[in-house]
């Protein structure tokens, strides 16, 4: 043993630190992570922290700010436009999410039927999600035009209304209009992901239920919904997050108008920070969104835990 042990030891000594490092999982792992981690720290983690800091300063564009503590939040709490944007954001999120879920689930159930040209229909249904939001929002802008709206034209021809509807000029009309555009864009995402969930449910469950004489409604209530609930939780979390932080649709269709009636927190923070130059105040508005987002994530997380527990899942 001693005869061979010596050359091996010598070899090991000669093997440089470098090659040995490359055999270690931890070192190699760290090396492989460098590109992703570097980008994410510099452009995600650091800005997130910087955003917290900016929210506590009075930074203006082109000038250094100083620390002012919670003063931005204090002045926002007295700012009626800010509270209007909070109201609009919640209104927009609640109504758009509920309808997106309802239509999305219905569409998923329809697409799960035996259909001709199934994959083509699925591809078409997903189009609104694929096409750049701003570009489709331009189409909605035109659809809602006060003088040339095709909706008004059709309704007048059908004899249902007598005057053109001012979709974007009236506060409540404008709110419902942007909600409708958001629903249009969001339904495909909900539908296709729920469809994927539906297809993982084993047909034998339905066959068993059929033999037991269950009605359609009972099968939906006692098989489809419980089996689908984990994926519903995930899809709706994503959907709520995307709706709550939406910027593109509002900025394109109304820019927050008329008289701030459709300003979301995201568009208001853009207006104050970039257009108005008050980076600090804009950052404070962005930061005010964070508690809502965390609440949405936690809610769905615990909802998911609960449904797993009810089904006797292990993890």
């Amino acid at each position: 043993m001693a005869v061979i042990a010596e050359p091996v030891a010598a070899q090991l000594k000669r093997a440089s630190l470098w090659t040995r490092a490359f055999e270690s999982r931890n070192f190699l792992g760290a090396m492989f992570m460098v590109p992703a981690i570097a980008i994410l720290i510099l452009f995600l983690a650091y800005p997130l922290a910087l955003g917290f800091w900016l929210g506590m300063t009075d930074t203006k564009i082109g000038g250094a700010g100083r620390y002012i503590g919670f003063q931005n939040f204090v002045s926002l709490s007295k700012d009626s436009v800010f509270w209007l944007s909070v109201f609009n954001t919640i209104f927009y999120t609640v109504f758009a999410s509920i309808v997106k879920f309802a239509i999305g689930l219905y569409l998923a159930l329809l697409l799960n039927e035996r259909l001709p040209f199934k994959s083509m229909i699925r591809a078409i249904v997903l189009l609104p999600f694929v096409v750049p939001t701003v570009l489709s929002a331009i189409a909605f802008w035109w659809i809602y035009d006060s003088q040339f709206s095709i909706i008004s034209w059709v309704l007048i021809k059908a004899g249902l209304i007598t005057r053109y509807i001012d979709f974007l000029g009236d506060p409540w009309n404008a709110r419902w209009s942007v909600v409708a555009a958001n629903i249009w864009r969001g339904v495909p995402f909900v539908a296709i992901t729920l469809l994927a969930g539906l297809q993982t449910i084993s047909p034998s469950l339905y066959e068993a239920a059929n033999l037991d004489g269950a009605t359609n409604m009972q099968r939906f209530r006692h098989i489809t919904l419980p089996m689908l609930s984990p994926i519903i939780a995930v899809v709706m979390t994503f959907s709520v997050l995307m709706t709550f932080t939406d910027f593109q649709l509002i900025y394109t269709i109304t820019r927050g108008g008329p008289i701030n009636a459709t300003h979301l927190m995201a568009t208001l923070s853009f207006q104050r920070a970039i257009t108005g130059g008050n980076l600090g105040e804009g950052a404070a508005i962005s930061n005010a969104m964070i508690p809502f987002l965390v609440a949405a994530i936690l809610l769905s997380f615990f909802g998911l835990q609960r449904s797993r527990w009810q089904q006797g899942g292990r993890d």
Partner: protein, 291 residues
């Protein structure tokens, strides 16, 4: 990924056609009509001469009597649109490649090398996906300005990966998990290095996953708006969505024809790419949610 295979619930062949028409085809047709109508309307406005566009009395708004290319030619020759298109392509392609490179490395390390703490790093990267751009754009603008990247493609190429990497990494981790460990062990015994294993075994086997991630990343960066709106100021550096919104509107004068032409032609590249890889796209979308 065969999650979307045809697995309709049995017994519905017993249903009569009229009944199925009312229950399935009619509502499905209505929903599809509403989902597609804005695109139709976009296309109609693109090829309609102004005279017809603003006169609903003389012309039926749903039809085009004298199709014209005037809006498209105006868009291509009188505005910076070709530059916007070029910028959008450069930015989307570059940020997709950067993200794919970083994500492949990261996902391989997390899923295969299983270094100390890899699980937590994986979770942290996923959480990055939940941080919305509308919270990050203000501090990012400050950083972009400080780094001297303001008003250039590089500002977008470097910031887009922040929302692409978390998604791609998460998706690729799922793909790598499906490749048997034994393959890598054999290669290790034969003396292959980790890099060789990644390039010659893991990557080729997870090509569908890489394509899914790439297509999704490309469409997401083509779609991106808020960063491009914030970090770019001069017309020749804008991307299509930003250019269309900011440059085709002169005060209160909206060039509807050109706007619609921009919306239509700006959508076409992603739609073509998407239609070629639709299965990959769908599997990427559903895969990310089902993990």
């Amino acid at each position: 990924m065969t999650t979307m295979d045809d697995q309709s619930v049995g017994m519905d062949y017993l249903e009569s056609f009229p009944r199925k028409f009312l229950r399935v085809y009619l509502p499905l047709g209505l929903i599809i009509f509403f989902l597609l109508f804005p695109f139709y309307w976009m296309a109609v406005a693109t090829f309609k001469p102004d005279a017809e566009m603003y006169d609903y009395e003389k012309y039926n708004p749903f039809w085009i009597v004298h199709p014209t290319l005037e809006h498209i030619s105006k868009l291509f020759f009188d505005t910076d649109y070709p530059l916007w298109m070029w910028n959008t392509v450069i930015v989307s392609v570059s940020s997709t490649f950067i993200s794919l490179f970083a994500s492949v490395c990261a996902a391989y390390a997390i899923e295969r090398l299983r270094y100390k703490g890899s699980r937590y790093v994986g979770l942290a990267i996923f959480l990055g996906y939940l941080v919305p751009p509308s919270i990050l754009f203000i501090p990012l603008a400050a950083i972009v300005f400080q780094l001297g990247l303001f008003d250039g493609n590089l500002a977008l190429i470097l910031t887009y990966p922040t929302f692409l990497i978390p998604f791609c990494t998460w998706l690729l981790m799922g793909y790598f998990r499906t490749i048997p460990y034994e393959l890598e062990e054999c290669a290790l015994i034969d003396g292959a290095t980790r890099l060789q294993i990644l390039l010659k075994i893991t990557l080729p086997l997870s090509l569908p996953g890489v394509i899914s991630a790439g297509i999704f990343a490309f469409t997401l960066s083509w779609n991106e708006f808020i960063y491009a709106l914030t970090f770019i100021s001069s017309s020749e550096n804008k991307t299509i969505p930003v250019g269309a919104i900011t440059e085709l509107v002169n005060g209160d004068v909206y060039h509807w024809g050109a706007l619609m032409a921009a919306a239509l032609t700006g959508s076409v590249p992603v739609v073509i790419l998407y239609s070629f890889f639709v299965e990959y796209y769908v599997s990427a979308m559903t895969g990310a949610v089902k993990e």
